[in-house]
Subunit: 281 residues, 2 copies
């Protein structure tokens, strides 16, 4: 019996007992592994970092999608950058009011491997409103002529293929291709350990220089480093709390496992040490 | 260079690189170890479980104390059960309005060792309002003739010396010795992994059968299993949100590192999966 170990820092390790190593592939962009485990069910890693597992992927994906959808239930056209496991798309297709979902993922192999070995997140990908494009998100937002009501940046950490998705040019192009009341959501790293905290500050500083409304919200994701994970909410007009509506996901009768109305508000209440780190950058 | 490893479950391990093993003692009640580490600074363990470390102990202690103090700023007489590192007392002595703090810790050796090797949490123990008693908390609440406005159960997990502090008899005696508007706060385990989730449900069921107002709140504590840790708020009359005042800790000008007013409210907004686990027990 072997263990998968992730170094959360050079001095902190998180280890998961493996039941079976299901799949391994060196894609053109990264090293992909898929495992089955006793505690977390199936999970997959990119370049040795756990991306999603069956036990808690719902937390990340629900928080990423239902938060903006409760602020602007009129969202019709959505762009997902990254998100190769399909989890963000799965949550989006629950909304009948959404008309189109363009998903731009640089690495087709992640999508295809998940469709075979990590099916839990892929169930929305065949929805007729979904268009899959396998290309660089950075180039896509630069070149597209389309406009979106919501852009979801479901990226890896800012190393390797995910690096460009944390750049000024990327955020500027997101702003440009968003509709006049558009919202940008991105995975925003973590405040606790130094590496993620540094990236959190860098990303926040850039987004704040472009968008008039920028807030950070948090979720308990036990299998990401520190378990304290952040998302960025950037918008041209909507405030994530002041403009919050009765969650549409609730109105359409879908039972979320993590997200709810009070938690939406509570997730923007950051600890002082996080507020201080994000202030005066 | 060695590592301290804690099995969060039989299938999940959390490991911390050790700089120095500072102290080891088999006390009459448990095995105590104190380490210095690269990432978390100093930390100590009881029976192999990390209790507190210099990097994030403030989160647990601030949330345990400032939450009830913001609901009833008139609190004058406080009982702390457990809390051998002194962290809860350190936060309590910040309030000039508190008149007495009785701390009942079964294991004097934990207090003494922390005073030598883990000083960060012990700075309030010499406050003249503090009375240290080294005895069993379960027996103390059964026998005392005193009345308290606030009882803080800063216990270990419900195994070994901490077990009695999760019993019906203990909670019933807490209710009895609380003043007519008294509040009981306890460390309430965690919702994510099975062992802690089972204890969370057991404790909640018991407390709900005794107190009219019982709510659960949460904090991001990265070094406890799953990083998603809970506290119980049980009260005879006060609701933790509806009866919240402007935090007294803010009025007296003390800068908290984690706690703030919005986070107080947000900490009671539980994910649906946690609410469901606590419902219909």
């Amino acid at each position: 019996m072997s263990w998968f170990t992730e170094a959360w820092t050079p001095h902190i390790k998180f280890s998961v007992k493996i039941k079976e190593h299901l799949y391994s592939e060196t894609t053109p962009f990264q090293q992909l592994e898929i495992y089955d485990s006793f505690e977390l069910g199936r999970f997959f890693t990119l370049d040795g970092i756990m991306m999603a597992n069956e036990k808690d992927e719902f937390i990340y994906h629900e928080m990423m999608i239902h938060t903006p959808m409760s602020v602007n239930p009129q969202i019709e056209h959505v762009l997902v950058i990254g998100g190769g496991d399909g989890g963000s798309v799965r949550e989006l297709v629950r909304y009948p009011s959404i008309k189109s979902i363009d998903m731009v993922e640089i690495d087709e192999r992640v999508v295809r491997a998940c469709q075979t070995y990590f099916e839990i997140t892929t169930t929305g990908l065949h929805d007729p409103r979904v268009t899959l494009m396998f290309e660089d998100g950075l180039a896509y937002v630069k070149n597209t002529k389309k406009t979106y009501d919501l852009i979801v940046v479901d990226s890896t950490d800012p190393v390797g293929p995910g690096e460009g998705l944390f750049s000024m040019a990327f955020y500027e192009n997101c702003y440009r291709i968003l509709s006049k009341d558009g919202i940008l959501i991105n995975q925003h790293e973590s405040p606790y350990f130094e590496k993620e905290s540094t990236e959190m500050k860098r990303a926040h500083k850039k987004i704040k220089s472009i968008f008039p409304i920028v807030e950070v919200y948090q979720a308990f994701i036990p299998t990401y480093p520190s378990g304290h994970w952040l998302f960025g909410f950037a918008s041209k007009v909507y405030h994530p709390i002041l403009d919050m509506k009765t969650p549409l996901i609730q109105s359409i009768g879908y039972q979320t496992k993590y997200y709810n109305k009070e938690l939406h508000v509570g997730s923007f209440a950051l600890p002082n040490y996080v507020k201080n780190a994000l202030r005066d950058l």
